[in-house]
């Protein structure tokens, strides 16, 4: 066995939260618990029992926080090592302070992902599971969670196997003609080879097309709310969030910095960014806000362009549209309860036009649905059959396989079997990196079962 040092880290996301957890893993976990944590009950820490108590600075005796602690003795823990978790109040300063106390006991700060790596090294989970667990940790919404779980169950692996099958079949054909020129194999069956490669490539293309969708499910989308000042952007944000997050006044130019909030709607994480209204201004602070808005534009997946329906289309509205020249835009016509004077020019510039009354909330649900529809087609998240690439590593592997196959197809007319085999092998190796398989013996088995070889 190998000696493991003891590691510790904050296991809750950075920032201020309701609760902050410090996790310790390794042989010293219990000792750390007894040093920094004092239970109110007499028995001290009992494995797999929560106890209430205080965290104190052992050097000064000063009380740092009231906390809950749980000790999990090896192997019944996430890492299969002794694990201690300290649940303290979530203020960032408190959490930092507690971690410092723990580290002062002589344990090491964990590397990113090291708890999962230990779980993996100690045989608690396998590599693909480890990756999926990372996804679960990072998942922001239910759809992402489902995707991560399905991936763990191997739906993607299965599809990749199908791709591999096709490529193996093609490679076996090519290799047979190379290695057995004196056997009576007939003419090189280019049609069959090309057909196998073609179906592999189609599957790869389909999988690659799901990557963007997979990313959206996993990471969520960002939606920028833009419009001229006082069009009602902040009111709209508050309605979308169902809370008073943004300050709403009748004074144009109130919002000067960018406000970010995330909601989960129909399983999709949507991050809304409320921005400063765009107009000519001499106010330096407001101008800075406008500049920041413009910086955010290219990063947004979608823009909600908010117009005041009670006013005529203005020069400032036109400025906004000019600034968003290349964007995917949904036009939101606010103040639909007032007499409508707005006539949108070039309405076909927009993915959709939605009427809302931010003040009352009318039309806001329909707006949310319209936003979702732009990203989740084919009701993909509902289908059990939905397989999606969500990791950049997988995508890179398939892109690389696709490059090999394109070169293969380009080289097919020249009939240099050796180079064709090289490209097929390259594609197979790339695909193999997703699930972790190599080829040689499989190819030979296939040759011997498909052809009568032998002199």
């Amino acid at each position: 066995m190998y000696i493991r040092d003891t590691i510790a880290a904050v296991s809750t996301p950075p920032g201020n939260g309701g609760i902050g957890i410090i996790r310790v893993s390794g042989d010293q976990a219990a000792a750390v618990g007894n040093t920094v944590f004092t239970s109110v009950s007499d028995g001290g820490l009992v494995s797999h029992r929560f106890s209430f108590g205080t965290i104190r600075d052992a050097a000064t005796g000063e009380m740092v926080d009231e906390a809950m602690a749980v000790y999990m003795r090896s192997p019944r823990s996430y890492t299969r090592e002794d694990v201690l978790e300290l649940h303290c109040h979530g203020g960032w300063l408190v959490v930092e302070r507690v971690l410092a106390l723990v580290l002062a006991c002589g344990v090491r700060l964990a590397d990113p992902g090291e708890f999962t790596r230990r779980a993996f090294l100690n045989g608690r989970i396998d590599l693909i599971q480890a990756e999926a667990v990372m996804d679960i940790i990072a998942s922001k919404s239910e759809a992402a969670l489902q995707l991560a779980q399905r991936q763990r169950e191997g739906a993607l692996s299965k599809r990749i196997d199908e791709v591999r099958e096709c490529l193996l079949q093609a490679l076996a054909l090519v290799e047979a003609y190379i290695d057995f020129p004196e056997d009576d194999l007939g003419q090189t069956d280019e049609v069959a080879i090309a057909a196998s490669v073609d179906s592999a490539q189609t599957m790869i293309t389909d999988l690659l097309a799901t990557f963007e969708e997979g990313r959206i499910v996993r990471e969520g989308i960002s939606v920028l709310i833009a419009g001229k000042p006082n069009a009602g952007k902040s009111s709209l944000l508050n309605r979308l969030l169902n809370e008073n997050r943004a300050i709403v006044t009748h004074i144009p130019g109130t919002t000067r910095d960018i406000i970010e909030e995330t909601i989960s709607f129909e399983g999709l994480a949507i991050r809304f960014l409320d921005t400063a209204g765009i107009r000519h201004t001499n106010d330096l602070v407001e101008q800075e806000g406008i500049n920041r808005t413009m910086e955010k534009v290219p990063q947004a997946d979608l823009i909600l362009a908010v117009f005041d329906g009670s006013r005529e289309f203005s020069q400032e509205d036109q400025m906004l549209l000019d600034a968003l020249a290349e964007c995917r835009i949904i036009a939101v016509v606010n103040k639909s309860d007032l007499p409508q004077r707005l006539v949108l020019p070039a309405a076909n510039r927009f993915l959709a036009t939605v009427m809302v009354t931010a003040l009352s909330g009318d039309g806001v649900d329909s707006l949310k649905q319209t936003v979702c529809r732009q990203f989740l087609h084919i009701s993909a998240t509902d289908s059990r059959e939905f397989i999606s690439l969500s990791r950049a590593r997988h995508r890179d592997a398939l892109v690389s396989a696709d490059v090999y196959l394109s070169r293969f197809c380009a080289g097919l007319p020249e009939r240099n079997l050796e180079l064709l085999a090289l490209d097929l092998r390259g594609a197979l190796d790339s695909v193999g990196t997703v699930t972790g398989q190599t080829a040689t013996d499989d190819v030979l088995d296939r040759i011997f079962s498909s052809f009568c070889i032998g002199k």
Binding site: M1, Y2, I3, R4, D5, R80, F120, L121, N122, G123, R124, D126, L127, I128, E175, Y177, I178, D179, F180, P181, E182, D183, D184, E414, R415, N416, L417, E418, L419, A421, L422, R425, G432, T433, G436, Q437, T438, T440, D441, V443, L444, F448, C452, I453, G454, K455
Partner: protein, 627 residues
Amino acid sequence: MITCEQIYDVIVVGAGHAGCEAALASARMDCRTLLLTINLDAIALMSCNPSIGGLAKGHLVKEIDALGGEMAKNIDATGIQFRILNTKKGPAVRASRAQADKQLYRLRMKRVLEQQKNLDLKQGEVTSLCLDGAAVCGVELRSGISYLSKTVIVTTGTFMRGLIHIGLNNYPGGRAGDQPSVGLSDQLRQLGFQVGRLKTGTPARLDARSIDFSKLETQFGDSPPRPFSLSTERITMPQMPCHIAYTNQRSHDIIRSGLDRSPLYSGVIEGIGPRYCPSIEDKVVRFPDKDRHQTFIEPEGLDTIEVYPSGMSTSLPIDIQIAFYRSIVGLERVEIMRPAYAIEYDYVDPIQLHSSLETKTVKNLYHAGQINGTSGYEEAAGQGLIAGINAALRVRGSDPLVLTRSQAYIGVMIDDLVTLGTKEPYRMFTSRAEYRLLLREDNADLRLRDIGHQLGLVSEQEYLRFAEKRCKISEEMERISITRLQNTVQQTAVLVRLGLQDIQKGTTFEQLLRRSEVCYDDLIELDPVSRETSEAIREQVEIQTKYKGYIDRQLEQVEQSKKVESTRIPEGLDYAAVKSLTTEVREKLSKNRPDTLGQASRIPGVTPAAISILAIVLKSSSWKGNS
């Protein structure tokens, strides 16, 4: 038991294709060597097909030659048909093949052995090894004499407990007409070796006078024939054609009618046969939809009427054999001179070997050839050469020679054998080499000549000739990279004829040669200097230029894999303690006991994930190495 006073450096048991190379290599490396054979008249005998080379096998022969072995020279001197296969499928899969005059082949090899300094040849059957603790120190013969030595190389071919089958008749024999070797494999088993059983077969030898060749298709060799060896100027033997014939539905019916008396299908034969070299009954049973099977009728020599029908091996009874061969068009009246037969023999799973071919169980003992589960003369010779070299290096007290997978097919073969073991006869295929583009016949000398020379197996004169060639190749590569098109009237005319009028003035010849429609011979027309370049150098320059992109990519892969290839796994590593490995992977690793992480990665079922775990475990400074 009488013990000979002389203590040899190396004793080689068996004088087939592995034994001959082993004995020559060690004797040429100045070791006192004894070569023992059951039959001095059967040295380097081609027990099966009268040919050398073919895909991947030709590559092996060229590598043996580059290292200073004998096989290439021997076939060049006795070959009666030479062909290059796959000329249009790419340079790395081009391969040489030759028909041999079987008797001349063995006689020439015997003469070379007899003339070799430091080498004694003796007839006798080795019945056991002499041991000194865990190391071998000599051999005992059935005649009651024993010879002592520092190292022993065992190359028993099909002889250990050989059992010949013709129909349901069977009898002990090492090959038709020879006694088997009895006793040795029992001792190996007692020493703890895992000994298994394999099977192979050979077709009947037919009387050419009873064949109507006018009904068969004739196949001639290449003209002029191209030799295997770098040392051979030109092939001087008379050349002969082969003939092509086919079986038919009636032949297959006859085969099926005899299956009830087939030792293969009635379960008499236990040994596993090669899938790539099945008997005719295997082909008929496994591929019932195929309406005919092809056979090359190969001459066994210039001065004999015996011919060899390739691919037609069988262990069916003799009456079925006669009816079957006579069902083939052109062979209606054919007479069998020697019947076809199958043979079962003992082999020792090569997983019990180090990469040097020394056994892990008994020190100073080396195994080479069919005893390691391989089939084929070329595979045997390649191993024999390496075993001979490594026994000699052991005597010298030097590190063994281990060729890598990116260096030689010999390296691929030995790595496959010692890493994975084998359950069926192992044959070389080019598809086994992941760096196929680097392992070409044409560059075998560039890959291996230096090594052969350093070992003392390549003479100074031969080496100088190679060094000169290598120098000329790089000079010519350099020259074409700086020589530019001037677009003279004459050059423009040539370019127009080649359909390359769009080519800019100032283009280098290298850039020109990279285009698929241009070959080196076109350069000759553009540039008088090219005319003086010799054939061998033209070939190298053309291949190295045209395939540069692909070759560079493979070299890059070799570089990337170096880390995992060179990471050694401690011999006593307790895989059971690495809990994150799956049970299946742990079992495989415990059984195979790979020497390096690279070897581990090639064991089927050992996933890349398992390799990363091992890498982490090995790298982890906190690993104590639990033994």
